[in-house]
């Protein structure tokens, strides 16, 4: 049965997209439309003294915090509601929304924009983790600039360090990363049926509905969100669309006309959220026989000007911070700091890539200290079924890392090559081991989401599925159809599944956290079983199914103890590189991967996820440099923020190891983020092996290698 569902089918959206017939937000004609531009802060940290707006021509509007209805509030209701819809008296980052300027002519809007004068009283900004911890310019949040702190303790790490024969320490840093979905952020707001409607390129229609309705002070049903075909997202269209949808909704509510807000690329790179930069210090206690007895991990991430979802990202960084290892005594500490950079937010992996990068580099460096090759050393500590996790629950997965390593080794010839390359100044090979918890952390699927799906028989041999999860390139519209079709004994093309509209679909949760196939797919599978039981009721028969957390997984969100995730995807990457010893340019000559995603729901779609995730991860590791200069992202065009092209990396050789999960549809687990996680540490490990010098920071640029070598 599983062999049947994994068989590749043609994606339902492929032909329309390849032909150029699929319509993205900029392809729709809303008739007589107005255009909006954001009036943004030009200062990283300042008090707004006054704003001078020139007299506006007929048909032009300036919309700011004063336009928020009395019942509403000037807050964006995301995970934390500290981010304002429109800045009032202070700004915390360059690009913060102060107002919207709206009118019928785009050129004229730009002219008026240049005449708007904002008077500021500047304060000294803090951009880096170090500056934030030192409260440069005075604390901006609380009295210490810390949004939140968590500590996870397993065993007795203090005793382990007191009794250690030696301690190995390293500090690892990762930078901002831009999503660079090919379609920039965009949406159109309209006034239809006496309420605000938003058509958006987005991952989470119900997130937008919640933030818009809360800011306007209306019931959720008084706001309609329709997702339109979305040209890539990677987490960048998880919360950020709320940041522009809410001001747009305030404007539509005031003007009652259709308004378009679509970013150009420079705006998109300059003024959207990035991956959280991190600084992670790891200390490892070793006994006389060079066994690890304890570990101390201190993680700090840069949340930027507002908290938003930062603490949830931090939690995931900590929960993945000890990687795939069973360390008897460990302390994992995490803090998120407030700075005057653009607020950081969701990005494929959601904190896990930072934690996994640091632990993987550190474990390789400890291996070197004790005179072992990285894989040989790391394998001694692989967590197994029944071992205690960092949150003091037993590992419930049947962990197949040894089998996966054997497959990776056979494909890549890692064990032979790493010995052969030991004294080779031109060639190197690296390896990384990762896992990724699928779905929301702990019992979040039950406590926060309570996902609900609905299905309906719509014809003799047809059914429709209603979910709020979106196709954004990952193949969901095909995969969920396959899952439903399998249960109903129909063809996947006989299942209807439109881009979600909050008027039509129930809230099955956001399209995030590698949950859509594993969690929502399972709900669809169970719902389809119910519908099958009602099939004889005829066309129109309906069934619903709501998420119930499996009782064997316990979690306490206050203490972060218990089963952090019901199951994990597992992954191994091997990367082989060559270096030009004159220019220090690194060329990747081989990429191998092995993944346990439970059962792939479509082999070709999963191959596409693997290639896309690994290459995005290799970009993060090597070329995607994003620095802050005077509060602005220095790389803000596609000419200077570079992503991998078709020539930068060779073809990936991948293998899946089957390991079905009982609460996943046909055994599937989450996969979309897992495939990103392993690439950066494998690449940096390869360069580290080649140069014989420890690598601490990514991206690993030729300039960095030159400094290490000299």
């Amino acid at each position: 049965m599983n062999d049947e569902i994994r068989k590749s089918v043609r994606r339902v959206d492929a032909v329309a997209k390849a032909s150029g017939l699929a319509k993205y937000i900029s392809d729709y004609d809303f008739g007589d439309i107005l255009y909006a531009r954001l009036v943004r802060s030009t200062r990283p940290r300042a008090k707004i003294l006054s704003v001078t707006v020139p007299e506006l021509p007929e048909g032009y509007y300036y919309v700011d915090y004063r336009d928020i209805p009395e019942k509403g509030k000037n807050r964006i209701q995301m995970i934390k509601d500290d981010w304002k819809v429109f800045a009032e008296d202070e700004v915390r980052y360059v690009g913060e929304t102060i107002a919207l300027l709206i009118g019928p002519d785009r050129e004229r809007i730009l002219n008026i924009l240049s005449e708007i004068k904002i008077f500021y009283e500047d304060r000294e900004p803090a951009y880096t983790i170090e500056e934030a911890l030192a409260c440069k310019g005075g604390a901006m949040v609380g009295d210490d600039n810390i949004y939140g702190e968590y500590n996870l303790v397993k065993g007795d790490p203090d005793t382990a360090f007191n009794n250690a024969a030696r301690v190995v320490e390293g500090t690892y840093r990762t930078g901002f990363q831009e999503h660079l979905y090919m379609e920039p952020q965009g949406m159109v707001g309209t006034w239809e049926g006496g309420r605000v409607n938003i058509y958006a390129s987005a991952q989470c229609p119900y997130y937008i509905q919640k933030s818009v309705s809360s800011a306007l002070g209306v019931d959720g049903k008084n706001v309609r969100i329709k997702q339109v075909t979305t040209g890539g997202a990677f987490g960048g269209k998880e919360h950020f669309p709320d940041v522009i949808a809410v001001p747009l909704a305030v404007a539509v509510n005031k003007i009652k006309k259709p308004i378009e807000l679509i970013f150009d690329r420079i705006e998109d790179i300059s003024y959207t959220c990035k991956r959280h930069p991190s600084r992670i210090t790891i200390k490892t206690a070793l006994d006389k026989e060079n066994n690890i007895t304890g570990m101390d991990i201190d993680t700090v991430i840069n949340g930027g000007g507002y908290e938003s979802s930062t603490l949830i990202v931090l939690q995931r960084a900590l929960l993945h911070g000890i990687g795939v290892y069973n360390i008897p005594n460990a302390h994992v500490r995490g803090r998120a700091v407030a700075t005057n950079t653009f607020p950081s937010d969701a990005y494929r992996g959601f904190g896990a890539p930072q934690g996994l990068y640091a632990i993987e580099m550190h474990m390789s460096q400890v291996a070197k200290e004790v005179g072992m090759f990285p894989a040989d050393f790391k394998r001694k500590y692989f967590i197994k079924n029944g071992d205690m996790t960092i949150t003091n629950a037993t590992m419930k997965d049947n962990v197949k890392l040894e089998e996966m390593f054997a497959a990776a080794d056979e494909m890549s010839d890692y064990t032979r090559k790493i010995r052969e390359y030991e004294n080779d100044p031109y060639r190197g090979i690296g390896i990384s081991f990762v896992n990724h918890g699928g779905g929301f952390t702990g019992n979040g699927e039950q406590e926060i989401i309570k996902g609900l799906v609905r299905m309906k028989r719509t014809g003799e041999n047809r059914a429709a599925l209603y979910v709020s999860n979106v196709e954004m390139g990952q193949g969901l519209q095909t995969v969920l159809r396959k899952i439903a079709a399998k249960e109903l004994g129909l063809k996947y093309t006989d299942i209807e599944y439109d881009n979600p509209d909050t008027d039509i679909v129930p809230d099955s949760g956001p399209t995030v956290a590698s949950r859509s196939t594993m969690v929502v797919g399972y709900l669809i599978q169970e719902c389809a079983k119910k519908l099958k039981g009602k099939w004889d009721e005829g066309v129109g028969a309906e069934a619903e199914h709501r998420y119930i957390h499996p009782s064997e997984y316990k979690w306490d969100q206050d203490t972060l103890q218990g089963d952090a995730y019901p199951t994990y995807g597992w992954g191994i990457n091997v990367v082989e590189v060559e270096m030009d010893t004159v220019t220090y340019e690194v060329k990747t000559t081989g990429i191998w991967s092995v993944f346990d995603v439970g059962i792939p729901m479509d082999d070709t779609i999963m191959d596409g996820q693997v290639s896309g995730g690994v290459i995005q991860g290799l970009g993060y590791a090597s070329i995607e440099k994003c620095e802050v200069l005077d509060g602005r992202f220095r790389q803000h065009t596609m000419a200077d923020y570079v992503i991998p092209t078709s020539m930068d990396f060779p073809e990936i050789k991948n293998k899946f190891i089957d390991n079905p999960y009982k609460y996943g549809p046909s055994g599937a687990k989450g996969a979309g983020e897992l495939v990103f996680d392993a690439a950066a540490p494998a690449y940096a490990d390869a360069v580290q092996q080649l140069t014989g010098k420890n690598i601490y920071d990514i991206p690993v640029t030729p300039e960095m290698i030159m400094e290490l070598e000299e």
Binding site: S8, R10, R11, D13, A14, V15, A16, K17, A18, S19, G20, L21, A22, K23, Y24, S26, D27, H179, L180, Y181, M182, E183, P184, T229, T230, G231, G232, A233, F234, D264, R265, I266, M472, G473, Q474, G475, T604, I605, D607, G608, V610, S611, G612, G613, V614, I615, Q616, T637, M638, A639, I643, P644, T645, S646, M647, F649, E651, I652
Partner: protein, 157 residues
């Protein structure tokens, strides 16, 4: 404003517009060629790729005034041809399409390559696609899509 005439997908057309207007905007706004996508507006991403006198170009970098008398093919034209259909079907069958925003441009790049070289090596395909960025696929399945197009359409190019 000036009148500019050119051949668009095999038909003679003309438009009254500012000769400095970007060809990308002319194609999208005046001719509803919505398969031409704006990904960056600075000639880096290739989402707005078209064929101009048989050559693959970024339409965001070309002013209308420069195309007087030119022969222009957009995804709207290519998809109606036998070659275009082979590329679309091959892309669909190999899993080359994910979010789809880069795909019409990729299709133009594939056509431009196959016109010159109907049996390309993998390295030649990678080079031919290198001006078209994709963030979803990691390119492997697009490369496969172009290879499959060449195999299936070997009598066409």
């Amino acid at each position: 404003m000036a009148k500019t005439s050119f051949i668009l997908n095999g038909e003679e057309v003309s438009v009254e517009a500012d000769p400095l207007k970007r060809l990308l905007d002319v194609l999208r706004e005046d001719f509803e060629a919505l398969g031409v996508k704006e990904g960056c507006g600075e000639g880096e991403c290739g989402a707005c790729s078209i064929l101009l006198n048989g050559k693959l170009v970024n339409s965001c970098m070309i002013p209308l005034g420069a195309v007087e008398g030119a022969d222009i093919v957009t995804p709207e034209g290519l998809r109606e041809t036998e070659k275009g259909k082979v590329i679309i079907e091959s892309f669909a069958d190999t899993g080359a399409v994910q979010c789809g925003f880069c795909t019409p441009g990729m299709m133009m790049a594939a056509e431009a390559l196959l016109e010159k070289n109907n049996n390309p090596e993998e390295s030649e395909i990678r080079e031919a696609l290198s001006g078209n960025l994709c963030r979803c696929t990691g390119y492997d399945l697009i490369v496969k899509g172009v290879k499959t197009s060449a195999e299936r359409g070997k009598d066409l190019w």
